[in-house]
């Protein structure tokens, strides 16, 4: 059994030099957009080890062959991706994303919308799972409403394919794991006690969020969603093939307002999926920007 090494993630360098890992890494990147840089190969190796022991393969090369076999490929890739993106989500999981929104994106949006006298902001959590992300965004916006968003109205759209997730998200009941990065002050302000171990989101948060079941592949529903300022779509596209990914991105592009942003999961890339979005680097994170009509790359933003 090789499963034990996954505990520490500390393989010997010799294992990591196996070229099969690079090939597995590239296969995952091509199919899902999830990228494991050279220095994180030990993580990939430990995930592979778990899958390898499950399918009884003893070497990375054998596992690569197994992955490349048409009969196993789709199922095994999905199981592998589950391992890679494992872990339930929690609130305030990506603070650098929120910093970028607070310090860079919102000032841009506030400036351009103020000119039009249109003080309304709309965010979309596409693939909201059990609701941690939309509730984070709701707290974030409420905190900003005392500052740069004073006098603004906002709403958050939270969608998922899974009915059970949506039901859990609507209930808004969370334990310590989900709340581990939420400060006491925010817990007190935006949650009420549910039982001795869990808190429940206050109505003030819930009233900002509209929960809905949406299949990102459903053209009729996707076309209907308009006027979004920022879309969050974390580790959802990885389960789509290239053709469906491109279709979802086309929808996202038209769902967004000009100048709007799309955020993907950490280590997820849109390369060769959609080149109309512009990759933008923020401190600690990257986002994808929809340029306004007539935007010229030579102009300074």
């Amino acid at each position: 059994m090789t499963a034990d090494i996954s505990k520490t993630g500390q393989e010997t360098p010799q294992d990591l030099r196996d070229p099969a890992y690079l090939k597995i890494r590239d296969l995952i990147y091509q199919t899902s957009g999830i990228y494991q840089p050279e220095e994180k190969l030990y993580l990939l190796a430990s995930r592979c080890a778990r899958r390898m022991s499950a399918v009884k393969m003893t070497t990375p090369a054998a596992y690569l062959e197994f992955l490349n076999n048409r009969a196993n490929r789709d199922t095994e890739l999905r199981l592998m991706l589950n391992e890679i993106t494992i872990g339930e989500t929690y609130m305030f999981r990506s603070p650098s994303q929120l910093d970028a929104i607070r310090n860079v994106i919102l000032p841009q949006i506030v400036e351009s919308k103020n000119k039009m006298g249109f003080k309304r902001l709309r965010l979309w959590s596409a693939g909201c799972s059990t609701g941690e992300e939309p509730y984070t965004l709701a707290m974030f916006l409420l905190e900003e409403s005392a500052k740069q968003l004073a006098g603004w109205t906002f709403d958050i759209l939270a969608t998922d394919l899974n009915d059970n997730s949506i039901a859990a998200a609507k209930a808004g009941i969370y334990g310590e794991y989900s709340l581990r990065s939420t400060s006491d002050a925010l817990r007190k302000k935006y949650f009420k006690t549910y039982d001795d171990k869990r808190l429940q989101a206050a109505d003030q948060l819930k009233s900002l969020i509209r929960f809905d079941r949406v299949n990102l592949n459903d053209d009729s529903k996707m076309t209907f969603l308009k006027g979004i300022d920022i879309i969050f779509c974390c580790n959802v596209l990885i389960y789509f093939d290239l053709v469906s990914k491109r279709k979802v991105m086309q929808h996202f592009f038209s769902n967004l307002l000009p100048g709007g942003y799309l955020f993907l999961g950490h280590a997820e890339s849109l390369y060769q999926v959609d080149d109309r979005f512009h990759l933008v680097h923020f401190p600690g994170s990257i986002g994808y920007w929809k340029p306004p009509v007539g935007y010229n790359a030579g102009d300074k933003r």
């Binding site: 050279e38 390369y271 512009h278 933008v280 680097h281 923020f282 401190p283 933003r301």
Partner: protein, 302 residues
């Protein structure tokens, strides 16, 4: 805050030449760094490293860091071999420069400064390899020294510079912009003066002078573009000046990127997100190395 003119500050920079704190080995070192690797005298480098206990300790720490395989390097000579001559010379130089700033004068935390400088060196080196720039070691050196002017400003106008950095940090603006507002001159200008005085190579001087203003650089200077991008990448990750800079940068539309693409057309097809993630992946390691070299250690190396 009164503005100081570059001309007023120039004599003070001149005086740095004769400062007693400038280690005597800076000059021979920077001359040696310009030689091709095969002409560098290994024994001489080992001697220079051994000359200063702190520097020797820092080389050993770096040689024993994960990037170099975490081997148990015990002698200075084996550390030099493990790191490579050029890398050792670069460490030597940065350690010497570290010593020209008196302890109580630092405006930035010394570790913050060297994290950024060494980080930029390592990212430049990596980027150089990725884009097949012919001299990745030169990119390393240029990255290491690009902010020399920050040391100059720290020494020649300590109080004003502290204020300048404080203002930059509290407004989340680039340091350069704050320098223009508070000092009337920039670390690019002062760094260039000292670098010329110390006979740094012309290419490194260009990097120091133009890394924030690539439009003014003479045409066709890939090293300037490379360090400009590495500097940005470091500041966009955890290797900036120790404060949050509110910026969103489209690297693909950066002028430096466009100019690098001109010298190396294959770059146009580079997967920018993947390149970023590669560098992101390296950041953690870079931070560890920088801390290993420059942070005061409480426990002696094994």
């Amino acid at each position: 805050m009164k503005l100081q003119k570059l001309e007023e500050i120039r004599p003070k920079i001149k005086a740095l030449q004769s400062m007693p704190t400038v280690p005597a080995i800076v000059q021979p070192l920077s001359a040696m760094l310009q030689l091709p690797s095969d002409r560098v005298d290994m024994d001489r480098v080992v001697k220079l490293v051994s000359y200063d206990g702190t520097i020797a300790a820092q080389c050993l720490r770096m040689a024993n860091s994960p990037l170099f395989g975490r081997r148990n390097t015990e002698t200075v000579k084996s550390a030099v071999l493990a790191l490579g001559l050029k890398r050792v010379q670069a460490i030597l130089l940065s350690c010497c420069l570290n010593q020209i700033v008196p302890q109580d004068k630092w405006a930035l935390e010394p570790t913050t400064f060297w994290r950024h400088s060494l980080g930029c060196a390592l990212v430049s080196n990596r980027l150089a390899n990725l884009i097949q720039y012919p001299d990745p070691e030169k990119a390393y050196l240029a990255g290491l020294l690009h902010d020399l002017g920050i040391l100059v400003n720290t020494i020649v106008c300590t109080d004003e510079y502290r204020e300048c950095i404080r203002a930059a940090a509290s407004n989340h603006i680039p340091l350069l912009q704050s320098e223009e507002q508070h000092l009337g001159f920039t670390h690019c200008q002062t760094g260039k003066i000292l670098a010329a005085q110390w006979n740094f190579s012309p290419e490194v001087i260009e990097v120091i002078e133009y890394h924030h203003n690539i439009a003014s650089a003479p045409a066709g200077r890939p090293l300037v573009y490379l360090v400009h991008l590495s500097d940005l990448l470091c500041r966009l990750r955890d290797l900036g000046y120790g404060y949050y800079e509110a910026m969103g940068v489209n690297l693909g539309e950066d002028q430096a990127w466009a100019m690098l693409v001109e010298t190396c057309p294959a770059l146009a097809k580079v997967d920018m997100a993947r390149l970023t993630m590669d560098i992101d992946g390296a950041m953690e390691e870079i931070v560890t190395i920088v801390d290993a070299v420059f942070k005061p250690q409480h426990a002696p190396a094994e």
